[in-house]
């Protein structure tokens, strides 16, 4: 009897603390500063750890710091120059030199493969999962690491799971309740309140610290918001600061329940799987949505897949054909505190969330950027590239022309055909062959 009473008391105290310190402030969008203190302690600890590691390791390991910098000297001259070029010259036996050199260069180093695995850290952040190259340095460091493990798994994880659970249930219940109301401005205000509160709770469940820059450019109603994609958490991060209409497929299970509940309170655009294939239908529905200036801005991730937050890959042109004003947003995570990248081929959703909840924190910067519209004589692809460059520059990411779909599929043959075309033009020239 006593054991049960004690357990009951602990549980109720625990819940009251959580309610008081975390849930209530979330409703009002106020922060009590607990996370800030946690972050300060964390930063100091990691700095100390870095200094100790640098003292401990020999100079050789500085070698691997340039993992993201090119390791071979590249000659980026176009095919004509590389083939010692006068145009319209004939085939030579030595032409094969150029192609083999380019091929071997790609084997030694290519820009794409490295973007689909997590970024390597310059110095260890006391998480086992990032322990790529750090050997045993000292007893004190190991003790701190053990302490870190205990704190993360025994203190932070239960807290975070509780918060996530509360956040999601509140979202589903809240939106269903609000959905019962007739359409009115009260309904919109309430639905915004519910959305924002639950998102804030969920962000705290990940110990998220987000800095928003240039809030004056926050996406307005009737516009389209585009951002670079690193993980499903991107959605959470953006919706904490404003409400968006989301676009996506209808899922089953828990996601499906959440989606159905959310759409009752506020018009999101969910598609059935079969509808997604029909691009015209998708474009039509999105056009209808933004035509209504009272509806919330649409949130789209044009890359189509998760990239590891060191670069921005090709933006699919579909989102840029709808018209309307595009509000670009750049999201950059700080990998020192936790790696937010979702490697969907390696981890499923549940293990990904567990990894998130056992990291130190999720720290990121969000930059809102001035709105852009398609200019005269610019087609969708050029416009997409312009927006992509702007986001890459703002977020400090490199820009790549490759399609994120390369993660799963092989390269399209059309790209190879282009190279073949270029070469053929050279050796066959103006149709005359000697």
């Amino acid at each position: 009897m006593e054991g049960a009473e004690l357990a009951g008391k602990i549980l109720s105290t625990w819940l009251t603390l959580v309610l008081g310190f975390i849930l209530l402030p979330s409703v009002f969008g106020v922060s009590l500063g607990i996370s800030e203190i946690y972050m300060k302690i964390l930063v100091k600890t990691l700095e100390w750890a870095t200094i100790r590691i640098e003292k401990g390791t020999p100079k050789e390991s500085i070698l691997k710091n340039s993992a993201s910098v090119g390791i071979i000297q590249r000659d980026e001259s176009p095919m004509e120059k590389g083939l010692s070029g006068l145009r319209g010259r004939d085939f030579e036996l030595s032409d094969v030199f150029y192609f083999s050199k380019k091929g071997l260069e790609a084997i030694v180093e290519d820009e794409v493969t490295q973007r689909f695995s997590s970024e390597e850290l310059v110095s260890w952040n006391l998480l086992t999962r990032t322990n790529v190259n750090f050997q045993y340095i000292s007893l004190r460091l190991t003790m701190v690491w053990v302490l870190g493990v205990i704190v993360r798994y025994c203190v932070l994880l239960p807290l975070r799971v509780t918060l996530a659970f509360i956040g999601i249930s509140l979202l589903v219940i809240g939106t269903t309740l609000v959905g019962q109301l007739p359409d009115s401005s009260l309904k919109n205000w309430l639905s915004e309140l519910v959305h924002l509160t639950c998102c804030r709770i969920c962000v705290r469940s990940l110990s998220g610290t987000i800095h928003y820059h240039n809030k004056q450019y926050r996406p307005q109603k009737g516009g389209i918001c585009v951002a670079n994609h690193t993980s499903p958490i991107d959605v959470l991060i953006l919706t904490t600061d404003g409400c968006y209409a989301m676009v996506g497929q209808v899922h089953g299970g828990l996601m499906g329940i959440i989606q159905r509940a959310m759409v009752k309170a506020c018009p999101h655009v969910w598609f059935e799987r079969s509808e997604m294939k029909d691009r015209h239908l998708v474009t039509k529905r999105l056009k209808e949505h933004i035509a209504d200036k009272k509806k919330l801005p649409i949130l789209i991730f044009p890359e189509g897949t998760c990239i590891n937050n060191t670069s921005v890959m090709m933006f699919k042109k579909g989102s840029f054909e709808i018209g309307g004003t595009i509000h670009p947003v750049a999201i950059k995570y700080n990998p020192q505190f936790g790696d937010a990248f979702w490697n969907s081929s390696k981890y499923n959703m549940v293990s990904y969330l567990l990894r998130m909840m056992t990291s130190w924190a999720i720290v990121c910067d969000v930059w809102y950027m001035p709105p852009m519209t398609r200019e005269e004589g610019e087609d969708a692809v050029q416009f997409a590239n312009r927006v992509k460059s702007a986001i890459a520059i703002q977020g400090g990411l490199t820009e790549l022309p490759w399609d994120g779909g390369l993660k799963r599929a092989k390269v399209k043959d059309t790209l190879k055909e282009e190279q073949q075309k270029n070469y053929s033009k050279m050796i066959v020239g103006n149709g005359s062959v000697s």
């Binding site: 691997k64 030199f97 091929g103 290519d110 790209l415 066959v428």
Partner: protein, 196 residues
């Protein structure tokens, strides 16, 4: 998670590989890092599919021939020493290589002759030591895709074989190949410099 970088102790036979290929310790470490990054399933060797996943290689018109060069003698796997052996052909020729030419040691993999031999076997599909007209046609077809007619291609192949063929056997042997390219700056065109 990111791929693991490696210590010298982790690379098996590091010393013998270094002697055979001439790569510095630092370059060898980088290449080992890259080998492990390409080996997605951590098998310890690379298959053709691992190399085909490289986007920039898959769009290369000679991509398939280059991938084949890693699998001599019909094997299906290439381990790290085999991987480095092919890459060693593209090591830039440094002064130290030409000066200390010990007649007892085998020719370094990045000598002019070996570079030319690498290019030769990109053409020599059946590895019989000769590039026949038929093989020339097939490789040309790889490089131009569907952009050139069969007739034009045959003309180019005939002309090329005739120009290089000296003993009139209708095929280009390695010696003839070398002779026709004697003025070409092979060392510079077939070299990839790994930055320190």
């Amino acid at each position: 998670m990111g791929s693991r970088s490696s210590h010298a102790a982790v690379i098996p036979d590091a010393d013998s590989i270094r002697r055979e290929t001439g790569f510095s310790q630092a370059s060898l470490l980088r290449l080992h890092h890259r080998f492990r990054a390409l080996d997605r399933n951590k098998k310890g060797y690379l298959s053709r599919m691992d190399l085909q996943q490289i986007g920039a290689l898959a769009v290369n018109p000679l991509g398939d021939r280059i991938i084949e060069s890693f699998f001599p003698d019909g094997s299906q796997q290439v381990d790290f020493p085999g991987f480095v052996r092919v890459l060693a052909h593209f090591r830039p020729v440094e002064d130290e290589d030409t000066e200390t030419q010990d007649p007892k040691k085998p020719e370094p993999l990045n000598s002019r002759r070996n570079k030319l031999h690498y290019a030769f076997q990109l053409y020599d599909l059946d590895r019989d030591g000769k590039i026949s007209r038929h093989e020339m046609l097939q490789v040309l077809r790889l490089m131009v895709g569907v952009q050139v007619t069969e007739e034009q291609l045959e003309n180019i192949a005939d002309r090329t074989v005739q120009e290089a063929d000296e003993d009139g056997d209708g095929a280009v042997s390695f010696v003839e190949f070398t002779k026709s390219l004697e003025k070409m700056d092979v060392e510079q065109k077939m070299s990839i410099r790994i930055l320190k």
